[in-house]
Subunit: 478 residues, 4 copies
């Protein structure tokens, strides 16, 4: 559009499509309109626009907000040009002033940050929803005997609630990162212009206030050309997707015929076109791919950002769609995971069965050590021998006593004692450490986690309100 | 669609969207139709369909080929279901037989391989076009003095043709990989059914022949669940994008004011919304991002494929769109790079200037060693000192001789001799090794490269014809 | 070592090497010793060890701390076994009790977190040092005219101090992430045992206090098997390396003959074995590779962590060395970058030259708009035309006026006025927005940044002291 | 070492360590010595060295080959400097000539390619060994009933041999890539000098012949600065590791208590320090991490290579160790996987059990369609219903007939017929398609695969001999 001054020829059509960001600018369309409203107000304050010009332009932009344009005309390089062109045709003088002291370089960052604040708030909601669901189910299943595995071998009796609480704990640890990303976005770059600031005396604090930003950026070069905040954001979604991938993997495993610990709801499963007996855990399968989607997006975004000298290059434009994609992937995976967790059924017979001896056999060793002073390594060795007997179906009162002798453990314990020690319900209630699978600890922890969730909700709510109020004021100002 | 037998409830709508591949199945729509045509013919041979039923079904599918369906109804899990449903409504009996001995697992691989053969042929064309352009320009600029850099420091006088030939050489080395990928795809999985083959006596060789595949796969598990061929394909595009990223980087560097060695065409450049003096190399900038796009796609595809036990899981479905995306990105980047290379202009005054002393100073050292037997390390040390004098603007006949003395080199060489030795045109014509920047060698190498391109074209042409003939025969058989 | 109970054969030697972590366990050796000290104290409190046994064992472990063992005997699977074996040979009874209520699963996480707190503090120091250096130089060069580039084209006059402050700003924004990682590590997993807690009544708060951890973990499964904190840590180093890669790229560019804006110190440069005239920016080159080292490490670590069901698997062991490597790479790159920034020299003649017209030409447009009310798009178009005249060496009073006319700008501005407006020093002092390259703003921002650095230092110092005091107390307790 | 001419100060010690490649140059030490031998012969042919000088220098270098130097003196930037220094101290004149017409840029590529040919041959051996083992076991277990899974749900009766043959098939498809990499390396870059060739009239064909290279490179810029062949090599190892990761995952799954299909040998398993009942599949766990190691290495290598302008930069040096690491990781994983496959035991009772109805239920549907003309979709629906009955333990002659009726299938089939149709051994022998799990087809396919392996062995043997003969001749020439 504005090539005439410097370049003689128009852009090659294929090149225009190749370099245009219009295809993925829809995400920031609203934000760009708001930023233009704010810039109009800045120009009014500078004296370049009259109060009436400004008011009318804001009103016009308000209409654009309500009926957004199609973004399919490839003669435009990007959304900024579309908006400027749209306004110029309706208010030529204001349109011709829009680029004064404002570059696409600062405008696009402002738009991304404005939109990202909304998207982070939305991400928070989805995480919150899954956490709450996990915790609710953890509470309900706090006494449901369920094995935990290490090396995919049965490792100890625990409960299903304990496992779900483990996932909620992982998600809760992401909250500082979630807030960090929000705060990185809560900073207005407007007034940075293309790269070094501008001689137009724009009031940057006023711009920030109009758009609900908490502060202004410190360095125009950093503000316009750093995409570190995007890498931070995608890193966050990577962690979310990582946690979901583990949870999904467990759901796939535990709903196989061989494990048969869980059953996924029919409405989240598929059947086969050729093998009618199967019930495929397709939602969990798709969910466990998301971590790779996000890793790919991170690699791409990081790759583009790396080795960029400090001022803006068009390369940076290609980073932004990866951010939105990473958020889309993560939020949809969170939602579907929430549905799966809400609708699981547990095969309690099987899960209890999997906790039978020798699963809890370390309790025998602990008992011998704590109550008889048997050196733990000796007790552990004995337990290993017993474990083998159980696996081979050869544990009898006789082989039990004989094994004690062979292991050099001469204390008055009977097979019946040993079996009682390993009884799953007794085992889990016998855990003595906080953070263990003991239902009493899990229930307390769930309660605390719910309180933490509530505190986090307030934090986001407050910020959300501030932003929404600012935008409403900007939009509706007479 | 076919859930009723095993699952009680229909799929949750959000889950259906989440797990559907329809969005990216458009790429294989035609291929899926062809595969259904072939399967109809197989069923005819088995005796399940009559000749007339088969003929009519193929004709119906031919119509679908001509006016393909919209792929936006999310009640369908994938394209296979769309096609089966479409045919079932027009030819219920054939439709009801389509899944006999054919699973989506083998059908989708067959479709991907069929389509990928076409896409690889198209990739070949784009590489061929760029290679030919590079070679043509290399020939034209074989005598155009141009510096080559190491460590981004001027390293030696060379020619622009030599640089372009270097890129063509890199691309040419990808041809074995290009053919390898084609051949990996030239294998029919049909008859593998879901995972282990089928008791339906399908004639697999006949299926391969109908679709123009060169052979049939050896193991049904590998055929249906390995996506190694996709990883191989994306790896290939990664190498293409890698090479283009280097070329694009050079174009950006050399068209900066500071280098000023090249000028990119106006129609492939952009200007600034706020800094009117600039001419931004946006096409090259976008091009250098493509290697990261492909790395991201590879990481995602690989991540999904890894740790998959041997039978099909829905995870695999998410790999395929990365393949098409990688090809799209690479082909568009190849096309735009070809345009840039075709339309570059060289600032020959600047490029010659950059080759002046001390750029060619190693020639002085070589001369002293070859003609006076001066140990090369001593000669090299002398050249280093001279280089510093030149950089500091202090090289005079006096300082020259004084430096010789200081370096302990006592041979009868004058400053004038030294300057002549470093004269760029003399330097490049003085290179004695094949593969050097000597125009004579570059021209010969270009000629050979053109011949190689021609051989490769024939290879692909032959395969393309075979495939196209088979499909035409299948489609048009009465 | 403890195989006898369950497995009949010893491990295959090649398999033992393949699965051993000894090679990279050196990093956590000290931490593992401290953890064993703490565990001995816990066992004393439980009553399994006498006060004297505990005291003597702690003293023995203190000796091991002073003269650490060689970690090259591959019969040991890992460092935990080495320490247990070492103590068992000196204090058999204590040794035989060490595994009571403690698994390698919780011990290794405790050790990693303890060590990581130290490494994060060290990372903080290196970032702090670079920030301080950048800010010091930014202050010194706040008036040094220097161009800033966008699209690698000269975009605006600025100062070198402004650029350096931009990098400091990016680094400062990482501090919340740095603290977040520290706090993720400041949590004791001890008492989680292998996966679900233990029936041994260990006092977890006491363990945390002994080792200087700020709190205890909430869920044993999460504590032993989540490596999210490692992914968070590597993500942080990725951002550091990303920033350094851009800075290094600028140093390479600006020290090329073509840019000649900076000179890197000789002691951080190399020369060529064959091209004596060159001065290669090798430290910057190696520095810009670090972002890829870290991306690779992150991809590996993430890949291993993904799709892991919730209990420990040996896969996780392979994640840890990536963490240490990422920290090593980042810290060394920070240190060398600090050296480069400290010892750069600026070619002020060249940098001022690069800021001459048309670099500041937007000022002409701004002037016409702000002072004459010329619509900015018209003024911008005029500036584009002038820019082209300047580039072509055709700007004269006559062509200037003629261009004004052609552009339809009829205001009383002379060429001399225009040239004055573009004078670099005037331009930078004329920037009116906070965060711009105006030296006055940069100096203020530097001052604030120094204060922020100071606050961060105190935060880390406090934590460091707490940890060191705890460890000293543990070690020296009589 | 050779800094004096151009740079005034020596290199900073920390910077020297940071930029030195000595740490990972051990891998190419021998190759570098051979290349210096060859260069000495070239210089002899040029006339710069006498026949005697050359002969003595080659003999000296032969000694270095036998007792290689320690590579720990960090005053040397790299291995090239070490060798030149070593020779210079023993034969000053030859030493002082070594850099004539030879740069580290071409020498290092020559050394990497020489060494890589050996490493690729070694990789071939390890792949060959695993393939042979897989095929041998596939033959032995060609009749061993074993389930195959899709979506981790039992999908069809098959055999363990079929699964193993599937993996061998995947590996065999890598051979073209393996040979491609060998051939990319079989090209001598010597004579390319630093970047553009040299005026020293070196006989490049002679150099290639001395070192056993099949051809010479075409373009000096490509030869010295492209690392595409390394990316190709790492991509290959990525595919190997990908295949191994799937196999390892299956071994972990199938050796869990829940699946209990396989037992891993004790000597490749570990036990727990706290849970004595467990037998952990640690070798398989470590093996499945290797794909992430290689993905990380590829990302790093690719990242460094991307956006490099065409001449050598020191960045490239950091790529090479990733290549060796990728090969190390892959070869060790191949070896351990071979051991696991050799020593597995199959729990045939369990694997047969897993193939019982409803696993083969599609056979009922096929039967109804093929023999009674029942539309397949109807038959499939019926099979789904039967499947549910079986899962719920409700299949009786009565419910069977009732279900037939409900599904609208009125043919004379009894429950007994149906059960016979699903009998696992009958199912697998009833597969009619080549490539299916039918033992007859698997055995034939194994035979063909063995022949293919043999052909590939010859290919590599021939090349290996050629290289070894050349090096022996070079080394021993009098």
């Amino acid at each position: 559009m504005h090539r005439a001054g410097r370049l003689e020829k128009g852009m090659d059509e294929e090149a225009a499509r190749y370099t245009s960001s219009l295809e993925f600018d829809r995400e920031i369309l609203e934000a760009v309109i708001y930023i233009n409203m704010a810039h109009v107000r800045l120009l009014e304050r500078v004296g370049v626009l009259s109060e009436q010009e400004a008011r009318e332009a804001v009103a016009l932009l308000g209409k654009l907000l309500e009926s957004p344009p199609m973004l399919d005309r490839h003669e435009f390089e990007d959304i900024h040009m579309v908006v400027e062109d749209w306004l110029s045709r309706r208010s030529p003088r204001v349109g011709s002033m829009l680029a004064l002291g404002k570059s696409r370089n600062d405008a696009v960052v402002a738009a991304i940050k404005l939109r990202l604040k909304q998207r982070v708030a939305q991400l928070h909601e989805s995480i919150d929803e899954l956490c709450a669901t996990l915790l609710k189910q953890a509470e309900r299943e706090a006494e449901t005997i369920f094995p935990v595995y290490t090396h995919l071998q049965r490792a100890a009796p625990a409960t299903f609630g304990f496992i779900l609480h483990g996932y909620a704990t992982r998600l809760l640890k992401l909250y500082p990162h979630l807030r960090l990303v929000y705060e990185l976005c809560d900073e207005s770059p407007l007034g940075s212009a293309a790269v070094a600031g501008t001689s137009v005396p724009l009031d940057r604090e006023y711009a920030a206030q109009l758009l609900g930003f908490g502060k202004i950026s410190d360095n125009a070069l950093e503000a316009t050309a750093s995409r570190d905040f995007i890498i931070e954001s995608i890193s966050l979604t990577l962690l979310v997707a990582l946690i979901l991938s583990s949870l999904a993997e467990e759901l796939v495993l535990y709903s196989s015929e061989e494990f048969s610990l869980l059953e996924l709801p029919d409405e989240l499963s598929a059947t086969s076109s050729i093998m009618p007996q199967k019930k495929n855990p397709v939602v969990a399968e798709i969910t466990r791919t998301k971590v790779w989607e996000v890793l790919g997006l991170l690699s791409t975004a990081l790759g583009i950002a790396a080795r960029q000298p400090s001022g803006y290059s068009l390369d940076l434009q290609q980073i932004t769609p990866k951010l939105w994609k990473a958020l889309d992937e993560t939020v949809s995976a969170l939602r579907l995971t929430t549905k799966m967790i809400e609708n699981l059924s547990i095969n309690t017979a099987r899960s209890a069965e999997a906790c039978k001896p020798p699963t809890g056999i370390v309790e025998v060793a602990n008992h011998l050590t704590l109550n008889y002073g048997v050196p733990f390594r000796k007790a552990h060795n004995l337990a290993g021998r017993l474990s083998r007997l159980i696996s081979e179906g050869k544990l009898t009162p006789e082989t039990f006593q004989q094994t004690l002798q062979e292991a050099g453990v001469s204390v008055g314990i009977t097979l019946e004692d040993a079996l009682q020690l390993m009884e799953p319900r007794r085992v889990i209630h016998g855990y003595k450490t906080r953070g263990s699978a003991n239902p009493q600890y899990v229930k307390t922890a769930v309660k605390q986690a719910f309180q933490e969730l509530e505190r986090q909700r307030e934090w986001f709510l407050e910020r959300r309100r501030k932003m929404e109020n600012a935008l409403a004021t900007l939009r509706e100002a007479e």
